[in-house]
């Protein structure tokens, strides 16, 4: 072994990780990960896993080349999944990168779900960034294990390490018959505790067996089909109680008094306690704090629900009493008609308008939306003796850990263990740990009794962190051919920042960077502005965030301009995108610096060539231009988000009665290098349905400060009969580009493509979502 083995042993895990993130190369940490692995096991506690866990826990037999991998003498290979599984397949996709790079046989792999621990780097599973942020790190982890195993084998064979390779959990040497199982090499490998980054080599992509192939099935598939998958509500601890919470219908409501006597008469109800409201803890903004309310604690769920129904509560609505989302929409629409704060300027919009032959303007609105994941929020907690352990379907276990530290006043993060279960959908809702905080507070107030806080569907719809409502105003100055030479767009919406600070009264550079300040059209004079809006609701982020309304407005407006010019919408949009080029974003104001989804523009530029290729691909695939009978239409849209390029074409039928039938949806994605093609297709197929739901029905309204909807009868989702009937999802081959986002980018172009199709079918332009508000009969 080289002098690398002499590297200091006392370095903390997190320092290894830091250096790893900084350099993109992995440094080996010896003997780490055991805690994480042990804790991880509790979340997914099948018997088999527990047996493996015993091995991992005590006798040190496993070879642990780094935080992510343990190879056991039995041949079992454990790989840690540190991101949350909420339907993207990430619990399969990142581990398969490790397995491929190390040469492990997937059949030998057991996946362990990590607890929340900053040593893993970010575990915040949103922003469509799991693969793009961790692909290189996973490869490094796998490659390190491969090289260390090859070093042991090479020494035995007196061969060169470079002449050894791995396959199906064996190291294979240069001479015939030289073949040793990983499990037979781990004793030798354990002596190594460091590998300099310079010694790490990677497989050539043509050697990949799993990455980019269809060879690995979804790890949790069988469990999901047999009912064995463990989601948040499926955790059961000895002596565990169930709690449901009554919350004030308004965000700043206050409980004046309550009478629990009837509730306590219900068999099974054991206790009723009041939780502090978020505003009693932090008057400025709710952040991730629990809403507060009255918790009914019972022996079982049904008793808790009945007990809550039996509570008599006197409350007052507080400052939000008169808030109406209908009024807010009117105000925002007005705001969008007036000058706002400059976000981006190319050329001179006002000057260019003077020479325009004609102009066109339109205002688009999208209401508040709820996440409505199929699994309502739920968490299990046990808090006693200054220690806290929770089990939850969380997208962000570290945020949960940090918020619990703050709320429970536990200084030492290691005393708070956050176990991550499978998530029954997340869509951004489960990045917020408020429901986990509730469970911990209740357990603490009960003196350490384990408790599960179960949200009902009504709780979920009424106490969400909503996707924000918006008004977008667009105006174009057109030349004689109807092509825009001047382009103005204003974006008005209550900001996510308002959830964390009352000072946040307009969109930030982050939010405006979501498909607004980076508008990629080939127009010489562009002006982007933002306007103020305030709303007394918890604003959060929902799958694709502000891209939803920015893409809806921009992709609808380009379609309007095409029709105004008497042009084919696809051809017109293609011209507007222009020739392949990198979009110059130097016109973006410093105060709204373009974040590019957290990635450098050099690595992920805004590339109109890729945008146009996506558009061309979908047009060809969907048979753009084919003749359709009256009442049928095709609509097209394209949008870059989360560094990916997605185009969508929808074929719709609008019956004379106005009923909308979505016959066919074509969707294509250029996400650069793709790790798990089947799951990428699944994500963009699902995005069509998600997009159809929000376009057809999505509407959370608020009256007198409280949410009007409560369940799937009044907050509707598309179902089998009205969802897109045929969906054709295609991945554009772009393996030379680094991996980009997948979970969210399918959503933004869907609603505008659908509305553009409805216009083609009926001549009716919908500028206010949802469609269910409109009479589309003809």
């Amino acid at each position: 072994m080289t002098s690398g083995t002499q590297a200091p042993q006392s370095v903390e895990r997190r320092d290894f990780l830091k250096s790893m993130f900084a350099s993109g190369a992995l440094v080996i940490a010896a003997g780490v990960g055991a805690d994480g692995l042990i804790q991880a096991q509790r979340a997914n506690s099948s018997d088999q896993h527990q047996a493996e866990n015993a091995d991992a826990a005590g006798n040190g037999e496993a070879f642990r080349p780094n935080l992510w991998i343990a190879i056991h003498a039995s041949g079992k290979i454990e790989i840690v999944a540190h991101r949350s599984e909420m339907g993207t397949g990430i619990r399969t996709s990142l581990p398969l990168v490790i397995a491929d790079e190390m040469g492990a046989d997937w059949a030998d792999v057991t996946i362990l779900q990590a607890i929340g621990d900053e040593d893993y780097g970010s575990q915040n599973t949103d922003g469509s960034r799991s693969v793009r942020r961790f692909f290189d790190i996973m490869r490094s982890a796998g490659a390190t294990a491969r090289i260390l195993l090859c070093m042991v084998a090479a020494r035995k064979w007196s061969a060169k390490v470079a002449d050894c390779r791995t396959e199906d959990s064996f190291v294979i040497g240069p001479q015939a018959g030289q073949k040793l199982a990983f499990a037979d090499l781990i004793e030798g490998a354990k002596v190594f505790d460091d590998l300099p980054a310079s010694r790490i080599t990677f497989k050539h992509p043509r050697e990949w067996k799993y990455i980019g192939k269809e060879t690995v099935r979804l790890y949790d598939l069988s469990d999901m089909l047999s009912g064995a998958g463990i989601y948040g509500a499926d955790i059961k601890l000895d002596g565990m109680k169930t709690a449901v919470i009554w919350r004030t219908p308004t965000l700043r409501g206050e409980i004046e008094s309550f009478d629990a006597s009837e509730a306590l008469k219900i068999p099974g109800v054991e206790k009723v306690i009041q939780l502090p409201s978020w505003h009693s803890l932090n008057p400025d903004a709710p952040a991730f704090l629990a809403w507060g309310g009255i918790a009914v604690i019972a022996r079982n769920t049904w008793a808790a629900l009945k007990g809550r129904d039996a509570l008599k509560v006197k409350w007052k609505p507080g400052a939000d009493e008169s808030f109406s989302s209908h009024e807010l929409m009117k105000e925002m629409t007005q705001t969008s008609q007036a000058d706002g704060t400059l976000v981006r300027q190319d050329g001179d919009f006002a000057e260019a308008m003077k020479s325009a032959t004609s102009s066109h303007e339109a205002t688009y609105t999208v209401p508040f939306l709820a996440h409505a994941s199929m699994e309502p929020p739920v968490a299990v907690a046990r808090v006693s003796d200054g220690q806290c352990e929770v089990w939850a379907p969380t997208q962000n276990p570290q945020a949960a850990q940090q918020t619990l530290q703050q709320v429970l006043q536990i200084e030492d993060a290691e005393k708070i263990v956050v176990n991550v279960t499978l998530l029954g959908g997340g869509f951004g809702r489960k990045s917020k740990p408020d429901f986990i905080v509730e469970a911990a507070l209740v357990s603490k107030m009960l003196g350490g009794t384990p408790v599960r806080v179960q949200w009902t569907r009504e709780d979920d719809i009424r106490f969400d962190y909503y996707h924000t409502a918006s008004a977008e105003h667009l105006k174009a100055g057109l030349d004689a051919k109807g092509k825009p030479q001047a382009w103005l767009q204003r974006s008005v919406f209550p900001a996510i920042g308002s959830t964390f600070s009352s000072m946040a009264v307009q969109g930030s550079g982050m939010e405006l960077g979501l498909g607004f300040s980076d508008i990629p059209l080939d127009v010489p004079n562009i002006r982007c502005e933002v306007g103020k809006a305030k709303a007394p609701a918890r604003i959060g982020w929902l799958r694709s965030v502000c891209h939803v309304f920015h893409a809806f407005a921009e992709c609808s407006f380009t379609d309007e301009l095409a029709h105004k010019a008497g042009r084919d919408p696809y051809e017109f949009l293609r011209e507007l995108i222009g020739e392949p080029r990198i979009v110059d974003l130097s016109g973006v104001e410093k105060a709204f610096a373009y974040p590019n989804h957290g990635e450098p523009l050099e690595k992920f530029p805004v590339d109109t060539g890729r945008l146009r290729r996506a558009l061309d691909t979908v047009a060809k695939q969907a048979g753009w231009g084919r003749a359709l009978p009256k009442g049928r239409g095709l609509g097209i849209a394209v949008h870059r988000s989360f560094l990916s390029y997605v185009a969508c074409c929808v074929e719709v039928e609008v019956e004379r009665s106005g009923k909308v039938i979505i016959h066919r949806s074509d969707i294509v994605i250029d996400a650069g290098l793709v790790v798990n093609p089947d799951r990428v297709r699944a994500q963009i197929e699902g995005a069509c349905v998600f997009g159809a739901s929000l376009a057809l029905y999505g509407d959370i309204s608020m009256s007198n400060g409280s949410v009007d909807q409560g369940n799937f009868n009044d907050y509707q989702m598309t179902r089998m009969f009205d969802a897109p009937r045929e969906v054709y999802a295609t991945i554009i081959e772009a393996p030379d580009h680094p991996p980009a986002g997948v979970g969210e980018p399918g959503v933004p172009p869907y609603a505008p493509a659908l509305c553009n199709a409805i216009f083609a079918a009926t001549g009716k332009r919908v500028r206010e979502l949802p469609l269910s508000k409109h009479d589309l009969s003809w």
């Binding site: 089909l225 079982n300 199929m374 699994e375 029954g424 699944a682 349905v689 739901s693 989702m717 089998m720």
Partner: protein, 164 residues
């Protein structure tokens, strides 16, 4: 009170007879494959069979089950190999997976009644089950594949290949 679930009789002891079957399964019998999604019979996540008929466990009082034979996702097949489960496997239908036990139970009941459902039959049978991830097209295809496999047992295992 006794109920029969997946072929076994369970004495329930002291439970509120008005408790929905869903919570009896989950809280008393520790069978968590049947999911809570809405509590109002609106989403289908809790679908199971009583005497072969699909029912919403969240709105079905346990005292109305009587001597009915309850089948949950855990009891649909011994080894997760019901034709519907196999078709779901082959088509890799689930995303988050949470609604899938309910989807599978509804689909299995449909195929017991109707050996060759067309699109309209599938719409009618499945529209009570919401999938927020949006797996509907794969569910539709998997139902057709399962129907094909059930009609052609000798070819079953040759996955999919729906000619419907």
């Amino acid at each position: 009170m006794k109920i029969n679930v997946n072929g076994s009789s369970h004495e329930l002891g002291d439970v509120d007879p008005g408790t929905p079957l869903l919570w009896i399964l989950r809280d008393e019998l520790n069978m968590t494959g049947t999911k809570y999604g809405c509590g109002k019979g609106l989403c289908g996540a809790c679908t199971l069979h009583v005497d072969g008929q699909p029912k919403r466990a969240c709105t079905l009082r346990v005292d109305q089950v009587g001597s009915g034979k309850v089948t949950t996702i855990e009891g649909l097949s011994k080894a997760g190999d019901h034709a519907v489960q196999e078709a779901w496997q082959a088509g890799c239908v689930p995303q988050c997976g949470f609604c899938q036990p309910g989807q599978i139970m509804t689909a299995a009941a449909l195929l017991t009644e109707n050996k060759q459902p067309d699109d309209e039959d599938i719409d009618n049978a499945m529209s009570g089950n919401i999938c927020r991830c949006g797996t509907y097209t794969r569910i539709r295809q998997a139902i057709k594949d399962a129907a094909y496999a059930m009609r052609n047992p000798l070819k079953a295992g040759a996955k999919g290949g729906s000619h419907d």
